[in-house]
Symmetry: C2
Subunit: 200 residues, 2 copies
Protein backbone atom coordinates (compact mmCIF):
# COMPACT_ATOMS: atom_id res chain seq x y z
CA UNK A 1 0.00 0.00 0.00
CA UNK A 2 3.07 2.20 -0.34
CA UNK A 3 2.37 5.44 -2.15
CA UNK A 4 -1.10 5.80 -0.69
CA UNK A 5 -0.92 9.30 0.70
CA UNK A 6 -4.28 9.34 2.43
CA UNK A 7 -3.16 9.92 6.01
CA UNK A 8 -4.44 7.64 8.71
CA UNK A 9 -4.01 9.92 11.70
CA UNK A 10 -4.63 7.19 14.20
CA UNK A 11 -2.52 4.20 13.18
CA UNK A 12 -3.11 0.94 15.03
CA UNK A 13 -0.21 0.09 17.27
CA UNK A 14 0.62 -3.32 18.72
CA UNK A 15 3.33 -4.28 21.19
CA UNK A 16 5.18 -7.54 21.74
CA UNK A 17 7.41 -8.58 24.61
CA UNK A 18 9.81 -11.22 23.30
CA UNK A 19 10.88 -14.05 25.59
CA UNK A 20 12.47 -16.03 22.75
CA UNK A 21 14.81 -15.67 20.90
CA UNK A 22 16.66 -13.28 23.23
CA UNK A 23 20.24 -13.10 24.43
CA UNK A 24 21.83 -13.81 27.79
CA UNK A 25 24.86 -12.03 29.27
CA UNK A 26 27.22 -14.03 27.06
CA UNK A 27 25.27 -13.32 23.85
CA UNK A 28 23.80 -16.83 23.66
CA UNK A 29 20.22 -17.37 22.55
CA UNK A 30 17.89 -18.26 25.42
CA UNK A 31 14.24 -18.23 26.45
CA UNK A 32 13.40 -16.04 29.46
CA UNK A 33 10.59 -16.55 31.97
CA UNK A 34 7.43 -14.50 31.97
CA UNK A 35 7.13 -12.23 35.01
CA UNK A 36 3.88 -11.11 36.58
CA UNK A 37 5.08 -7.51 36.83
CA UNK A 38 5.75 -7.32 33.08
CA UNK A 39 2.19 -8.45 32.44
CA UNK A 40 0.64 -5.82 34.71
CA UNK A 41 2.84 -2.78 34.18
CA UNK A 42 3.13 -3.10 30.41
CA UNK A 43 -0.58 -3.87 29.98
CA UNK A 44 -1.39 -0.70 31.94
CA UNK A 45 0.92 1.39 29.75
CA UNK A 46 -0.56 -0.17 26.60
CA UNK A 47 -4.10 0.50 27.77
CA UNK A 48 -3.27 4.11 28.70
CA UNK A 49 -1.76 4.84 25.29
CA UNK A 50 -4.37 3.01 23.22
CA UNK A 51 -2.13 0.13 22.07
CA UNK A 52 -4.48 -2.44 20.52
CA UNK A 53 -2.92 -5.66 21.76
CA UNK A 54 0.03 -6.71 23.91
CA UNK A 55 1.60 -9.98 22.77
CA UNK A 56 3.66 -12.15 25.09
CA UNK A 57 5.93 -14.18 22.82
CA UNK A 58 7.04 -17.47 24.33
CA UNK A 59 7.28 -20.91 22.73
CA UNK A 60 6.99 -22.68 26.10
CA UNK A 61 3.56 -24.16 26.60
CA UNK A 62 3.85 -24.16 30.41
CA UNK A 63 4.58 -20.43 30.35
CA UNK A 64 1.51 -19.86 28.21
CA UNK A 65 -0.55 -21.85 30.73
CA UNK A 66 0.85 -19.72 33.56
CA UNK A 67 -0.09 -16.48 31.83
CA UNK A 68 -3.52 -17.81 30.93
CA UNK A 69 -4.06 -18.79 34.58
CA UNK A 70 -3.17 -15.28 35.77
CA UNK A 71 -5.37 -13.71 33.10
CA UNK A 72 -8.30 -16.00 33.85
CA UNK A 73 -8.33 -14.71 37.43
CA UNK A 74 -8.77 -11.18 36.09
CA UNK A 75 -11.73 -12.32 33.98
CA UNK A 76 -13.67 -13.40 37.08
CA UNK A 77 -16.51 -11.24 38.35
CA UNK A 78 -14.89 -10.83 41.75
CA UNK A 79 -11.65 -9.50 40.24
CA UNK A 80 -13.50 -7.22 37.85
CA UNK A 81 -15.46 -5.77 40.76
CA UNK A 82 -12.27 -5.41 42.82
CA UNK A 83 -10.36 -3.56 40.09
CA UNK A 84 -12.09 -3.16 36.74
CA UNK A 85 -9.25 -0.97 35.42
CA UNK A 86 -6.76 -3.78 35.87
CA UNK A 87 -9.15 -6.23 34.23
CA UNK A 88 -9.45 -3.86 31.30
CA UNK A 89 -5.66 -3.49 30.89
CA UNK A 90 -4.93 -7.22 31.16
CA UNK A 91 -7.58 -7.97 28.53
CA UNK A 92 -5.10 -6.65 25.95
CA UNK A 93 -2.71 -9.56 26.55
CA UNK A 94 -2.42 -12.49 24.16
CA UNK A 95 0.23 -15.21 24.37
CA UNK A 96 1.69 -16.36 21.05
CA UNK A 97 4.44 -18.94 20.46
CA UNK A 98 6.54 -16.84 18.06
CA UNK A 99 7.13 -13.48 16.43
CA UNK A 100 5.60 -14.81 13.19
CA UNK A 101 2.43 -15.74 15.06
CA UNK A 102 2.15 -12.17 16.39
CA UNK A 103 2.36 -10.90 12.80
CA UNK A 104 -0.34 -13.37 11.70
CA UNK A 105 -2.66 -12.28 14.53
CA UNK A 106 -2.23 -8.62 13.59
CA UNK A 107 -2.95 -9.39 9.93
CA UNK A 108 -6.19 -11.09 10.95
CA UNK A 109 -7.23 -8.09 13.06
CA UNK A 110 -6.19 -5.57 10.38
CA UNK A 111 -7.86 -7.24 7.38
CA UNK A 112 -4.67 -8.58 5.90
CA UNK A 113 -2.62 -5.43 6.40
CA UNK A 114 0.93 -6.39 7.50
CA UNK A 115 2.47 -4.30 10.31
CA UNK A 116 5.63 -2.27 9.96
CA UNK A 117 7.84 -3.66 12.71
CA UNK A 118 10.19 -1.68 14.90
CA UNK A 119 12.44 -2.49 17.81
CA UNK A 120 14.78 -0.26 19.76
CA UNK A 121 18.52 -0.26 19.36
CA UNK A 122 21.51 1.22 21.14
CA UNK A 123 23.49 1.15 17.88
CA UNK A 124 22.22 3.52 15.20
CA UNK A 125 22.15 1.99 11.70
CA UNK A 126 20.36 2.51 8.39
CA UNK A 127 17.01 1.48 9.88
CA UNK A 128 17.22 4.00 12.75
CA UNK A 129 14.17 6.21 13.02
CA UNK A 130 12.69 8.77 15.37
CA UNK A 131 9.32 7.94 16.95
CA UNK A 132 7.86 10.82 14.90
CA UNK A 133 9.15 9.45 11.58
CA UNK A 134 7.91 5.95 12.42
CA UNK A 135 4.41 7.19 13.23
CA UNK A 136 4.38 9.37 10.08
CA UNK A 137 5.26 6.36 7.92
CA UNK A 138 2.48 4.30 9.49
CA UNK A 139 0.03 7.10 8.72
CA UNK A 140 1.23 7.68 5.17
CA UNK A 141 1.34 4.01 4.27
CA UNK A 142 -1.84 3.25 6.19
CA UNK A 143 -0.14 0.38 7.97
CA UNK A 144 -0.42 -0.90 11.54
CA UNK A 145 2.71 -0.80 13.71
CA UNK A 146 4.30 -3.45 15.90
CA UNK A 147 6.83 -2.42 18.52
CA UNK A 148 9.11 -5.13 19.90
CA UNK A 149 10.79 -5.19 23.27
CA UNK A 150 13.30 -7.80 24.31
CA UNK A 151 13.77 -9.41 27.69
CA UNK A 152 17.06 -10.84 29.04
CA UNK A 153 19.97 -9.03 27.42
CA UNK A 154 18.04 -8.02 24.34
CA UNK A 155 16.61 -9.30 21.07
CA UNK A 156 18.57 -11.75 18.97
CA UNK A 157 19.53 -10.80 15.42
CA UNK A 158 16.97 -13.38 14.18
CA UNK A 159 14.38 -10.87 15.31
CA UNK A 160 16.06 -7.53 14.64
CA UNK A 161 16.78 -8.45 11.02
CA UNK A 162 13.02 -8.76 10.49
CA UNK A 163 12.46 -5.17 11.68
CA UNK A 164 11.59 -2.41 9.22
CA UNK A 165 12.74 0.30 11.65
CA UNK A 166 14.83 0.67 14.78
CA UNK A 167 13.75 3.37 17.20
CA UNK A 168 16.45 5.61 18.59
CA UNK A 169 17.68 4.52 22.02
CA UNK A 170 16.63 6.27 25.22
CA UNK A 171 19.58 8.35 26.29
CA UNK A 172 19.35 9.49 29.88
CA UNK A 173 21.19 12.28 31.63
CA UNK A 174 23.66 10.41 33.80
CA UNK A 175 27.11 11.85 33.26
CA UNK A 176 28.59 8.38 32.78
CA UNK A 177 25.84 7.50 30.22
CA UNK A 178 24.33 4.86 32.50
CA UNK A 179 21.34 3.43 30.67
CA UNK A 180 19.82 0.38 32.30
CA UNK A 181 16.11 0.98 32.47
CA UNK A 182 13.75 -1.89 33.21
CA UNK A 183 11.80 -3.06 30.16
CA UNK A 184 8.66 -1.80 31.93
CA UNK A 185 10.10 1.72 32.16
CA UNK A 186 11.38 1.62 28.58
CA UNK A 187 7.93 0.62 27.30
CA UNK A 188 6.32 3.51 29.21
CA UNK A 189 8.79 6.05 27.80
CA UNK A 190 8.48 4.82 24.21
CA UNK A 191 4.66 4.85 24.40
CA UNK A 192 4.84 8.45 25.59
CA UNK A 193 7.36 9.47 22.93
CA UNK A 194 5.46 7.83 20.07
CA UNK A 195 2.28 9.67 20.86
CA UNK A 196 3.75 12.94 22.03
CA UNK A 197 5.81 13.31 18.87
CA UNK A 198 2.67 12.84 16.79
CA UNK A 199 0.98 15.72 18.60
CA UNK A 200 3.63 18.28 17.71
Amino acid sequence: MKGNKILNNDPSLYLALIHHPVLNKRGEIITTSVTNMDLHDIARSCRTYGIKKYFIVTPIELQKELVDKILSYWQELEAIEFNKDRHSALSLIQVVPSFDDAIKEIEILENGNTPLVTATSACPNTKTSTPEAYMKTLSEENRPGLILFGTGHGLSSQITEKCDFMLMPIVGKAKDHYNHLSVRSAVAIYCDRLYREKDK
Copy 2:
Protein backbone atom coordinates in the same frame (compact mmCIF):
# COMPACT_ATOMS: atom_id res chain seq x y z
CA MET B 1 17.47 33.30 46.27
CA LYS B 2 14.61 34.52 44.06
CA GLY B 3 15.69 37.14 41.58
CA ASN B 4 19.07 35.53 40.96
CA LYS B 5 19.07 35.20 37.19
CA ILE B 6 22.32 33.30 36.82
CA LEU B 7 21.06 30.14 35.17
CA ASN B 8 22.04 26.81 36.62
CA ASN B 9 21.60 24.64 33.55
CA ASP B 10 21.87 21.41 35.43
CA PRO B 11 19.60 21.68 38.46
CA SER B 12 19.85 18.93 41.07
CA LEU B 13 16.77 16.75 41.06
CA TYR B 14 15.63 14.45 43.85
CA LEU B 15 12.73 12.00 43.89
CA ALA B 16 10.61 10.67 46.76
CA LEU B 17 8.18 7.78 46.78
CA ILE B 18 5.67 8.45 49.54
CA HIS B 19 4.26 5.52 51.52
CA HIS B 20 2.68 7.77 54.16
CA PRO B 21 0.49 9.80 54.22
CA VAL B 22 -1.31 8.42 51.17
CA LEU B 23 -4.94 7.58 50.46
CA ASN B 24 -6.75 4.29 50.06
CA LYS B 25 -9.71 3.59 47.77
CA ARG B 26 -12.08 5.30 50.20
CA GLY B 27 -9.94 8.44 50.55
CA GLU B 28 -8.71 7.49 54.04
CA ILE B 29 -5.11 8.13 55.08
CA ILE B 30 -3.02 4.97 55.20
CA THR B 31 0.57 3.72 55.06
CA THR B 32 1.40 1.43 52.14
CA SER B 33 4.01 -1.32 52.04
CA VAL B 34 7.31 -0.95 50.26
CA THR B 35 7.62 -3.21 47.21
CA ASN B 36 10.86 -4.62 45.87
CA MET B 37 9.92 -3.74 42.29
CA ASP B 38 9.46 -0.06 43.18
CA LEU B 39 12.97 -0.02 44.64
CA HIS B 40 14.58 -1.54 41.54
CA ASP B 41 12.65 0.00 38.67
CA ILE B 42 12.52 3.53 40.07
CA ALA B 43 16.19 3.46 41.13
CA ARG B 44 17.13 2.43 37.58
CA SER B 45 15.10 5.31 36.10
CA CYS B 46 16.62 7.75 38.59
CA ARG B 47 20.12 6.56 37.79
CA THR B 48 19.52 6.79 34.03
CA TYR B 49 18.25 10.37 34.27
CA GLY B 50 20.82 11.63 36.75
CA ILE B 51 18.44 12.05 39.72
CA LYS B 52 20.67 12.60 42.75
CA LYS B 53 18.82 10.61 45.38
CA TYR B 54 15.69 8.47 45.58
CA PHE B 55 13.95 8.71 48.96
CA ILE B 56 11.63 6.02 50.23
CA VAL B 57 9.34 7.76 52.72
CA THR B 58 7.91 5.45 55.36
CA PRO B 59 7.50 5.99 59.09
CA ILE B 60 7.47 2.25 59.81
CA GLU B 61 10.76 1.10 61.28
CA LEU B 62 10.26 -2.52 60.13
CA GLN B 63 9.82 -1.33 56.55
CA LYS B 64 13.03 0.65 56.81
CA GLU B 65 14.80 -2.47 58.08
CA LEU B 66 13.41 -4.45 55.14
CA VAL B 67 14.68 -1.93 52.60
CA ASP B 68 18.05 -1.71 54.32
CA LYS B 69 18.32 -5.51 54.22
CA ILE B 70 17.62 -5.55 50.46
CA LEU B 71 20.06 -2.73 49.87
CA SER B 72 22.77 -4.30 52.00
CA TYR B 73 22.71 -7.36 49.71
CA TRP B 74 23.47 -5.08 46.77
CA GLN B 75 26.45 -3.63 48.63
CA GLU B 76 28.14 -7.03 48.85
CA LEU B 77 31.05 -7.82 46.59
CA GLU B 78 29.29 -10.83 45.09
CA ALA B 79 26.26 -8.78 44.09
CA ILE B 80 28.39 -5.96 42.70
CA GLU B 81 30.28 -8.45 40.57
CA PHE B 82 27.03 -10.09 39.46
CA ASN B 83 25.42 -6.81 38.39
CA LYS B 84 27.33 -3.62 39.08
CA ASP B 85 24.75 -1.52 37.22
CA ARG B 86 22.04 -2.59 39.65
CA HIS B 87 24.32 -1.89 42.60
CA SER B 88 24.96 1.56 41.20
CA ALA B 89 21.24 2.33 40.78
CA LEU B 90 20.22 1.04 44.22
CA SER B 91 22.94 3.14 45.85
CA LEU B 92 20.70 6.16 45.21
CA ILE B 93 18.09 4.92 47.69
CA GLN B 94 17.70 6.37 51.17
CA VAL B 95 14.84 5.58 53.55
CA VAL B 96 13.48 8.52 55.55
CA PRO B 97 10.59 8.54 58.03
CA SER B 98 8.77 11.60 56.62
CA PHE B 99 8.53 14.15 53.86
CA ASP B 100 10.12 16.75 56.16
CA ASP B 101 13.12 14.48 56.67
CA ALA B 102 13.59 14.22 52.90
CA ILE B 103 13.66 18.03 52.71
CA LYS B 104 16.21 18.17 55.53
CA GLU B 105 18.46 15.62 53.79
CA ILE B 106 18.36 17.61 50.56
CA GLU B 107 19.20 20.83 52.41
CA ILE B 108 22.26 19.12 53.90
CA LEU B 109 23.39 17.90 50.48
CA GLU B 110 22.69 21.27 48.81
CA ASN B 111 24.41 23.52 51.35
CA GLY B 112 21.19 24.78 52.90
CA ASN B 113 19.35 25.36 49.63
CA THR B 114 15.71 24.29 50.04
CA PRO B 115 14.17 22.32 47.15
CA LEU B 116 11.18 23.47 45.13
CA VAL B 117 8.73 20.60 45.54
CA THR B 118 6.42 19.26 42.89
CA ALA B 119 3.95 16.41 42.70
CA THR B 120 1.68 15.36 39.86
CA SER B 121 -2.01 16.00 39.77
CA ALA B 122 -4.98 14.95 37.70
CA CYS B 123 -6.79 18.19 38.60
CA PRO B 124 -5.19 21.35 37.18
CA ASN B 125 -5.04 24.24 39.68
CA THR B 126 -3.06 27.42 40.27
CA LYS B 127 0.12 25.43 40.99
CA THR B 128 -0.04 23.48 37.72
CA SER B 129 3.14 23.62 35.70
CA THR B 130 4.66 22.01 32.65
CA PRO B 131 7.88 20.01 33.15
CA GLU B 132 9.64 22.68 31.07
CA ALA B 133 8.46 25.55 33.29
CA TYR B 134 9.38 23.65 36.45
CA MET B 135 12.93 22.99 35.22
CA LYS B 136 13.26 26.61 34.06
CA THR B 137 12.29 27.87 37.51
CA LEU B 138 14.83 25.59 39.18
CA SER B 139 17.52 26.95 36.86
CA GLU B 140 16.53 30.59 37.27
CA GLU B 141 16.22 30.40 41.04
CA ASN B 142 19.23 28.13 41.37
CA ARG B 143 17.23 25.70 43.51
CA PRO B 144 17.22 21.92 43.70
CA GLY B 145 14.00 20.12 42.80
CA LEU B 146 12.10 17.37 44.61
CA ILE B 147 9.51 15.34 42.71
CA LEU B 148 6.99 13.40 44.78
CA PHE B 149 5.12 10.29 43.74
CA GLY B 150 2.36 8.73 45.80
CA THR B 151 1.61 5.06 46.32
CA GLY B 152 -1.82 3.60 47.12
CA HIS B 153 -4.52 5.88 45.71
CA GLY B 154 -2.34 8.98 45.74
CA LEU B 155 -0.86 11.62 48.00
CA SER B 156 -2.89 13.06 50.85
CA SER B 157 -3.56 16.81 50.93
CA GLN B 158 -1.15 17.04 53.90
CA ILE B 159 1.56 16.50 51.31
CA THR B 160 0.17 18.23 48.23
CA GLU B 161 -0.43 21.48 50.14
CA LYS B 162 3.32 21.61 50.78
CA CYS B 163 4.08 21.49 47.04
CA ASP B 164 5.27 24.57 45.18
CA PHE B 165 4.20 23.12 41.81
CA MET B 166 1.97 20.38 40.44
CA LEU B 167 3.12 18.78 37.20
CA MET B 168 0.52 18.30 34.51
CA PRO B 169 -0.98 14.82 34.48
CA ILE B 170 0.03 12.18 31.94
CA VAL B 171 -2.82 11.97 29.48
CA GLY B 172 -2.71 8.85 27.36
CA LYS B 173 -4.43 8.11 24.09
CA ALA B 174 -7.14 5.68 25.11
CA LYS B 175 -10.46 6.85 23.69
CA ASP B 176 -12.13 6.41 27.08
CA HIS B 177 -9.32 8.41 28.79
CA TYR B 178 -8.12 5.36 30.73
CA ASN B 179 -5.15 6.48 32.78
CA HIS B 180 -3.95 3.94 35.32
CA LEU B 181 -0.22 3.68 34.89
CA SER B 182 1.88 1.98 37.53
CA VAL B 183 3.90 4.41 39.65
CA ARG B 184 7.02 2.85 38.10
CA SER B 185 5.84 3.75 34.60
CA ALA B 186 4.74 7.24 35.68
CA VAL B 187 8.18 7.93 37.18
CA ALA B 188 9.89 6.82 33.96
CA ILE B 189 7.69 9.07 31.81
CA TYR B 190 8.09 12.13 34.06
CA CYS B 191 11.90 11.68 34.16
CA ASP B 192 11.92 11.59 30.38
CA ARG B 193 9.62 14.59 30.06
CA LEU B 194 11.54 16.73 32.55
CA TYR B 195 14.80 16.28 30.71
CA ARG B 196 13.47 16.20 27.18
CA GLU B 197 11.61 19.47 27.65
CA LYS B 198 14.81 21.10 28.86
CA ASP B 199 16.61 20.07 25.67
CA LYS B 200 14.20 21.85 23.34
